[in-house]
């Protein structure tokens, strides 16, 4: 058997390739962008709603940033450096959304919320 087919070569090489591939993926997706939409109880986009970003420290979630939705109800955070987040939206007269937990595969992963933050959902 040729030396390069030995498991002592194949397995470490595979591991190195996996690590390099993963790092390349992380490098191209770690802008820290978080995007989503805020809607009201009837499902309409809410312009001017405030969205609060909480980041997990060891055991608690601390507020890190706030932003406002644009005219179409979209919001966007940039420069997130955490891997475990919570998001909550609020608007005068429309109440608050549930605080949703967002877990990322690596710190600062670019992500879009699959479901919008629905105001009036929080009790």
């Amino acid at each position: 058997m040729t030396w390069w087919r030995s498991r002592w070569v194949v397995v470490p090489t595979l591991l190195v390739l996996i690590v390099l591939g993963w790092n390349a993926y992380v490098w191209t997706h770690d802008g820290g962008r978080i995007e989503g939409t805020v809607i009201d109880a009837r499902g309409h986009p809410v312009p001017g709603a405030e969205v609060i970003l909480y980041a997990r420290s060891f055991l608690t979630n601390d507020e890190r940033a706030r932003t406002q939705t644009d005219g179409s109800g979209h919001f966007r955070f940039a420069g997130n450096a955490s891997h475990a987040l919570q998001l909550q939206a609020q608007a005068p007269g429309l109440g608050r959304s549930d605080r949703i937990t967002l877990r990322l595969l690596f710190a600062g992963e670019d992500t879009k919320l699959r479901r919008p933050l629905r105001l009036g959902a929080a009790s």
Partner: protein, 267 residues
């Protein structure tokens, strides 16, 4: 299948032995508590985020680097020092039997009994809180010396004599003749040295002075003191600590077993 009952018993025993590992992995990829009742055999809503938590909540990459560096130093030290010592023990010299008896009797002394002198020696050498200091007590192990010795003794004496007649020195006889013919012993040395070093807890605990020099077992203890629970992240950490040792063992398993049994019979 010649012995179905024997195989069935072996399968049951294997499952029983693997079940704790499975349970740790299952807990690591879910949010279930390990003591949840009723237990669910299959993971519900599996996810990788506990591993992500471990990576970021503590300095895991640093612990990993420290463990890898210490283990590599230990493995290299074991291969070189044990091979040289074993070769010396295959040669005739005055007091050889006494040295063998001394080494064998030293195997009876538990590491905990020698830890204070080991600490004092390491401190005198100025190696506290260093990678070399972390690896120092495991750089050579007696059992691995004997594994090399029995492997070297199974190499025909005529081969060594022929190499000597051809002009090879003692070092080159070890490197060019004995070691290439002792691959199972090398695999056994690598596996044992790696696993002992990787899992070592007490010695790193004693000689490390700051968190940046701690190894994975110390990190696990530290993590446990932070996360006093029995849920995913802790078990994700356990999986991440166990995985390299299991991988090395699986890669070397056949040669490892041959190495352990080499020299058991002669002739």
């Amino acid at each position: 299948m010649k012995h179905p009952i024997r195989h069935a018993v072996m399968i049951v025993v294997s499952v029983l032995m693997l079940l704790p590992f499975y349970w740790v992995i299952r807990t690591a990829i879910t949010n279930d508590n390990i003591y949840a009742y009723p237990p669910h055999l299959l993971p519900r809503d599996p996810h990788p985020y506990n591993f992500v938590d471990v990576w970021y909540l503590i300095p895991f990459p640093r612990y990993l680097l420290n463990s890898v560096v210490v283990s590599v130093i230990t493995v290299i030290g074991n291969l070189v020092l044990n091979a040289v010592a074993a070769y010396a023990l295959t040669l005739p010299f005055v007091g050889r039997r006494a040295v063998l008896l001394l080494l064998l009797s030293c195997m009876l002394i538990p590491f905990q009994a020698t830890i204070i002198p080991a600490y004092l020696i390491t401190a005198r050498l100025g190696l506290l809180n260093s990678y070399l200091g972390l690896a120092l007590p495991m750089l050579s192990t007696i059992i691995c010396i004997f594994i090399f010795k029995s492997a070297f003794e199974s190499v025909p004496r005529s081969l060594i004599d022929a190499a000597r007649i051809d002009g090879l020195g003692e070092w080159r006889i070890i490197a060019r003749v004995l070691l290439p013919l002792s691959r199972p012993a090398i695999a056994t040395n690598v596996v044992l040295a790696f696993i002992w070093s990787w899992n070592s807890f007490m010695w790193p605990l004693i000689i490390t002075r700051d968190a940046t020099m701690q190894t994975l077992p110390l990190g696990l203890a530290r993590f446990l003191s932070y996360m006093e629970d029995t849920t995913g992240a802790l078990y994700a950490f356990v999986v991440m600590v166990l995985a390299p040792g299991i991988l090395v063992f699986l890669m070397a398993q056949s040669a490892f077993i041959r190495g352990l049994t080499a020299g058991a019979t002669k002739g």
